[in-house]
Amino acid sequence: MTVRLQTEPFDLGAEVARLTDGRSDVGAVVTFMGVCRDRTDSGAELVALTLEHYPGMVEDELSRIEAEARARWSLADALVIHRHGRILAGEPIVLVVTLAPHRAAAFEAAEFLMDYLKTSAPFWKQEETADGRSWVAAKATDDAAADRWKK
């Protein structure tokens, strides 16, 4: 079970290969990769995103969310990688991988990790377009997505 914060891009295939190497107890591997789009929600061309974060708290929150996923589902392993700093359009931002004996747990845990990460991990995106830089506003749909997991 790993949580990683880094500036450099990551390789989804290499991460999955490392997680599954030598294991035969895992029947399901679910991956989610968030990628930087080349358009803002309003349709403007986006050059890059810059992700600001709260050092220390980000690691604590990601670890807490991951521990909660492990408590709720029977996972063989899980990995969360989140980048910070400047990220160009087309580059990966975040990776969630869940491994479980069966697919239901792997799918649900991956969705849970992403929904909670978006609303509780202290990251802030700034968009860079030809007009300059502007902070991305939080979406009510993200709060609703996280709320559905509340017991």
Binding site: L51, Y54, P122, W135
Partner: protein
């Protein structure tokens, strides 16, 4: 205690962090925000969004009514937009 600001809260306040001692009677996150707003136009501008501003005490999310007694570090920031 140490105060930290992130994203547009940091830009509006004009600094990333500072040391501050809140006066007696300021005992919750909401009261601390009210006190900060009185410190100058840059703070007023940063905190005018009111409840939309989130807070963390010693790197844990804190609600507006959370007590600040004993806090070493209090951070203020907009709703999060990671992922």
């Amino acid at each position: 205690m140490k105060l930290l600001y992130f994203a547009w809260v940091r830009e509006r306040v004009g600094r990333a962090e500072e040391e501050a001692e809140a006066p007696a009677g300021v005992s919750t996150v909401a009261e601390l925000i009210e006190w900060l707003r009185g410190r100058g136009p840059e703070y007023e501008h940063a905190f005018e969004a009111g409840p939309a501003i989130r807070a963390a005490i010693d790197k844990r999310h804190a609600r507006a009514d959370a007590p600040i007694a004993g806090a070493r570090e209090i951070a203020f920031f907009p709703p999060m937009t990671g992922g």
